[in-house]
Symmetry: C3
Subunit: 212 residues, 3 copies
C-alpha cells in the first residue's frame, strides 16, 4: 500500500518533469502528454519487465495513466505555477528519482531478488524515467552528466535494502531513503558537487582521437 502511494507520487513528479521539459521544448499538447507519460512510466515499466511482473503496473492500474495525464495537463495550462520555480525539471526529477529508487528496491525485494540486486534494480528504476525523457529529446541523459545523480539513487536504494536485511519497518525506511536521496541530489546541483573527472585521460584521449 505504501509502495503504491509512493509509486504514484513518483509518477506524478516525474510526469511534471517530463511535461515541463516538453513545454520548454515547444512541444504541442499531445507531445507534452506523451513525454509526461514516458518520463513517469519508464522507470516502473523497466523495473516490472526486469523482475517479471508483467503486465507492468503502469498498464494494469488506471492510476498511473490518470496521474501522468493530470500532471501533463496541469503543467500545460498552469505553467505559471511551475515557472515560479527556478529549476522545475531538475527538482521534479529529483523527487521522481528518490521515490522510484525506493519503490523499485522494495518491489524487487518483494519479488525475491537478493538485496544487492534489488538495490541495483531500484537504482535503474529511479534513473529510467529521466533517461527516456532526455533520450526522447535527443540529449545526453542527466544521469551521465549531472552531479551525483546515480549516487543519490543508490543511496536511497541502499537504505531500503538495509532496512530489509535488518528487518526494520518498511514504510518509515522507504520515506527516509527517499528523503536522503532527494536531499543529496538537490544539494548536489545546488552546490555543484560532483565526483572526480578523469581530466588528463580525456585530454590524452582527445589527442588520440585526433591521431586516429
Amino acid at each position: 500500500m505504501t509502495l503504491l502511494i509512493l509509486d504514484l507520487i513518483g509518477t506524478f513528479v516525474f510526469a511534471l518533469s517530463g511535461a515541463a521539459a516538453g513545454v520548454r521544448n515547444h512541444l504541442d499538447l499531445f507531445g507534452v502528454l506523451v513525454l509526461s507519460f514516458a518520463a513517469a512510466a519508464a522507470g516502473g515499466i523497466t523495473r516490472d519487465v526486469i523482475i517479471g511482473a508483467v503486465p507492468p503496473a503502469a498498464f494494469s492500474n488506471w492510476w498511473y495513466l490518470a496521474i501522468a495525464m493530470f500532471a501533463g495537463l496541469l503543467t500545460f495550462w498552469r505553467h505559471g505555477l511551475i515557472d515560479r520555480m527556478r529549476r522545475p525539471v531538475l527538482i521534479f526529477d529529483a523527487g521522481g528519482l528518490a521515490l522510484f529508487a525506493v519503490t523499485g528496491t522494495q518491489k524487487a525485494l518483494e519479488f525475491g531478488l537478493s538485496p544487492v540486486m534489488a538495490a541495483l534494480i531500484g537504482m535503474v528504476s529511479g534513473i529510467g524515467g529521466g533517461m527516456i525523457r532526455d533520450i526522447m529529446l535527443a540529449r545526453i541523459p542527466t544521469v551521465l552528466k549531472s552531479e551525483l545523480y546515480a549516487v543519490a539513487a543508490l543511496l536511497g536504494a541502499v537504505v531500503v535494502t538495509l532496512s530489509h536485511v535488518f528487518s526494520l519497518p518498511a514504510t518509515p525506511m522507504m520515506i527516509l531513503g527517499a528523503l536522503l536521496c532527494f536531499t543529496l541530489r538537490v544539494a548536489a546541483f545546488r552546490y555543484r558537487l560532483h565526483l572526480p573527472i578523469a581530466r588528463r585521460a580525456s585530454a590524452a584521449n582527445d589527442q588520440g582521437s585526433r591521431r586516429s
Copy 2:
C-alpha cells in the same frame, strides 16, 4: 488471422519507413536493413514484452524478419519507386502507426487486459517503431514533434476497444480504425493541423533558464 495479416502489413510499411530514412541518411546496405528491422519490429516487441507474450512474435515467426528484409532490400535497390512519393518516410510511417495501433489493441484485449489499458498499449505499439527509428538516428521522435501523431494512434486504438466493448465484429472494425488513424495522420501533416503549444509558458521558461 486478421491480426497476423494486419501486423505483417504494418511490419512492411514501418520497414519501408525505416529503410527510406536510412537511405536518406547515407547508411550502407546493412545499416539500412538494421533500421528496417528496428522500425518494423520495435512496436510489436514492446507490446509483446509488456503483455508477457515472450518470445515476441518478431522472434518466433519467420515472416516478420523476412518481410522487413524484403522491404529494406526493395527500398535500397528500387529507390526510384520510392523517390516518386513526396514524403515516403511520413506516409509509410502513418501506415505502420495505424496498423500497429489496431493490432496492438486487439492483441492486448486477447491477452485479457482491460479496454482502456489495451488502447494505451495499442498506442504505444503504434508509436514504438517510429520512435526507435528516430532515436537511432539521434533525432527527436516524430511522436513528440509532429501533428496529431499520438492522437491518431489513440483514435485507431479506441475504435478497436469500443468494438470489443460493444461486441462488434473485430476484422471490419480493425480495418476501420486503421483507416481513420491513417487518414487523420496524413491530413494532419498535409494541412499542418496540430494541437495548441503552451507559447507563453515556453517564453517564460526560456527566461527562467537564462536566469538559472
Copy 3:
C-alpha cells in the same frame, strides 16, 4: 559454463568500451560507471527479456555488476593503459560484439528457439550494448554507421547456429564464431570495408526533401 565465462568476458570488454567512451566525453566517475554497466548489460538484458529469462542474468548474478564496475574503475584510474591503444572504444566494442553474438545465440538455442531466430537474437544481443552506449551519448549508433558491424555479429551467430544444427561441440564453435566475428569487424574498420551505399537514391531523396 562456457556460456557464463564468455558472457562475463563480453561484459568486461563492453564495459571497457562504455567506460572509455565516458572518459572521452568528460563524464564524472559515476557517469563512467553508469555507462560501463549500461554498455555491458544492455545486450544481455535485451536477450533475456526477449527469451523470457527474467530476472535477466545481469540482475540475478553478482558477477556482471562486479565486472562492469571493475572495468569502469580500471578505465577511470588507469586510463594510461587504455590511451596506448589507438582506438580503444572500437576494439573493445568489437570484442563485446563477438562474445555477446555467440552467447546470445547459444542461450536462445538452449531456450528452445528455432535456429534462425536464435541467430537473430544473438545478433541483437551483440548489437545492444554498443547501441545503448551510443544512444545515451546522443550519437547515431555504431551499428548503423560502421563498416560491417551487424554482418560480423550475424557471422558469429550463424557459426553457433550451424554448430547446433549439425550437433558439433558447442564450446570450440562458440570460440571460433567469436574469433571470426571479431576478426571481420576489426578488419572492416582497419581497412574501411563496407557494404554499398544507395548513392543516387540519397541524392534524389535530398532533392525530394528540399522540394517537400
